[in-house]
């Protein structure tokens, strides 16, 4: 038996300047993960927990109770100044002008071609202060791009503040009940994609109702020296609800069931927002954003391929980079795929010609030399009951 592609979702292994690219970076919780017996793997230049007790049990904990993630590898880039809004409007394809302070939105950092340099969440911290949470593998690239673009916007300072934050994610239906006793912030008052400042277990934090699992939950921005304290406090408070730590393996299967795109797999510099089926995130009222013209043109002309969800109907599991074939020829590619623990089906996402993109279409996927049938299905695959 040889293990072929064990990874928590493929990631470009980008060195993390200014550190030595050969040395993996560690989050403030690294010792905790080792002590908990986590299987640690390199991910985007970091040593991260892939799984603690197993992907299936961790996945189910998040769907049925709650799970705690260390996602401190994620990057934070802040933009502040009199013209910060104009700068963010230039680099984000949503419309940050529609954000009130205390609100956040999913967005894309685009090339002039309307393709993805990265995807991100934009938080409006103050009228002239925005925080962008970006993918770990892209921090250096994003920071360079944003710094360059912000110059044209006027008075807007761009800071890579990734090392100033540890990021914990508590996700799952029990999240609010678990977290509330640890904070004076009225959590019920924080709506989806909103955030508030306050204390958790005595640490000054920002609590956002955001996540990457398809469940209700919170992402908590913590000073690195307080990360261990907050981590322990949440696990302790969650003991009765059987809250467990969750690794990147389950993070990948959870986000896939929720049809959330993974940078480097489902979206990258070769795929446009419209091809990726993310047209809903575009803020057309934002006339400043880079890539707008190309996307307007593409919206007019229509795309030739689209990212779709599929369910494999024959036996087998379709994985990243497997070909979609038609009449024996490759016509598309699988970008994400696995057998997911909650739905217990082999699902995935693939770029296919628009003629095959309608829900109900039958497509064929080359699974290591064998042709397997799959059905195009609506996304998300999993939607929580509110």
């Amino acid at each position: 038996m040889t293990v072929a592609n064990a990874s928590p979702g493929r990631t470009p292994n980008v060195p993390n300047a200014p550190n030595d690219p050969n040395v993996l970076r560690k989050t403030p919780l690294n010792d905790r993960h080792h002590a908990a017996g986590a299987r640690m793997v390199p991910f985007a230049g970091w040593e991260m927990p892939l799984e603690y007790t197993g992907i299936t049990s961790e996945h189910m904990a998040v769907r049925t109770r709650a799970g705690l993630f260390d996602v401190s590898h994620m990057g934070e880039i802040e933009i502040a100044g009199k013209d910060a809004l104009a700068a963010v409007q230039r680099i984000a394809c949503s419309d940050p002008a529609q954000l009130a302070v205390g609100q956040a939105q999913y967005s894309g950092l685009l090339t002039p071609d309307g393709t993805f340099l990265d995807d991100m969440i934009v938080y409006r911290m103050a009228p002239g202060h925005f925080l962008l949470v970006v993918n770990a593998s892209n921090v250096a690239k994003d920071y360079a791009w944003i710094s360059e673009q912000a110059k044209a916007a006027g008075d807007a300072a761009v800071i890579d503040s990734s090392s100033r934050y540890a990021l914990l994610a508590l996700q799952g239906p029990a999240s609010q009940d678990v977290l509330q006793p640890l904070t004076g912030v009225e959590l019920a008052g924080i709506g989806a994609f909103q955030f508030a400042y306050g204390e958790v277990a005595g640490a000054r934090v920002t609590i956002a109702r955001t996540g990457y699992t398809g469940e209700d939950g919170f992402e908590i921005f913590v000073p690195p020296n307080m990360a261990d304290r907050v981590w322990q406090a949440i696990l302790e408070a969650g003991r009765r609800a059987d809250v467990i730590p969750v690794g990147l393996g389950a993070r990948d299967t959870l986000r896939l069931e929720a049809a959330m795109r993974l940078y480097g797999n489902d979206i990258d510099e070769s795929t446009t927002v419209l091809e990726a089926g993310l047209g809903w995130m575009i803020g057309w009222t934002n006339e400043r954003f880079i890539g707008r013209e190309r996307l307007l043109q593409q919206r007019e002309q229509g795309v030739t391929r689209r990212l779709v969800g599929f369910e494999v109907t024959d036996p087998g599991i379709a994985r990243h980079s497997y070909r979609v074939i038609q009449d024996g020829r490759p016509v598309g590619v699988v970008t994400s795929g696995t057998q997911t623990p909650f739905l217990k089906k082999a699902i995935g996402m693939a770029y296919v010609p628009v003629a095959l993109a309608r829900a109900g279409s039958e497509i064929q996927i080359d699974i290591r030399g064998r042709v397997a049938r799959a059905a195009v299905v609506p996304m998300p695959f999993y939607k929580r009951k509110v």
Binding site: M1, T2, V3, A4, N5, A6, S7, P8, R39, L50, E51, G54, I55, T56, G249, D252, T253, P315, G316, I317, R319, T338, Q339, T340, P341, A346, R368
Partner: protein, 124 residues
């Protein structure tokens, strides 16, 4: 976990237990730990020929797919049908969960395989 003495092992982490001219083939505890939660096992049909060191199927966990290599050659006489519904048996009881039974064509091939002590030494 102990590695039983009643069978042979491969460097690729399969085990084979020969009794008479029929042998059961599975994967080791070490292998299932490396794979994580197994969700699908693809096995050959009854009647298929397998040969020593060649792939006879594949095993998929949530995060990875791996080929299964036949420790010895022969003809498949039985396939473990339980695995279709319960692939997790490979995780919970790897040394009791055989995947295929083969009629061994050349018993001498066993000499090239590892015994329990040699296999555990390989694991370090």
């Amino acid at each position: 976990m102990t590695y039983p003495d009643d069978r042979k092992y491969t460097k690729d982490h399969e085990w084979i237990r020969v009794s008479g001219d029929v042998a059961e083939v599975g994967i080791t505890d070490y292998a299932q730990q490396q794979l994580g939660d197994v969700v699908y096992v693809e096995l050959p049909d009854v009647g298929a020929q397998v040969s020593a060191g060649r792939p006879f199927g594949s095993i998929e966990s949530v995060k990875a797919v791996s080929e299964l290599f036949a420790p010895m050659g022969g003809q498949v006489v039985e396939v473990n049908g339980h695995l279709k519904q319960h692939p997790e048996l490979v995780n919970s009881d790897p040394h009791a969960t055989w995947m295929i039974r083969i009629r061994v064509s050349n018993p001498a091939e066993a000499a090239a395989l590892l015994d329990s002590a040699q296999y555990q030494k390989l694991l370090g």
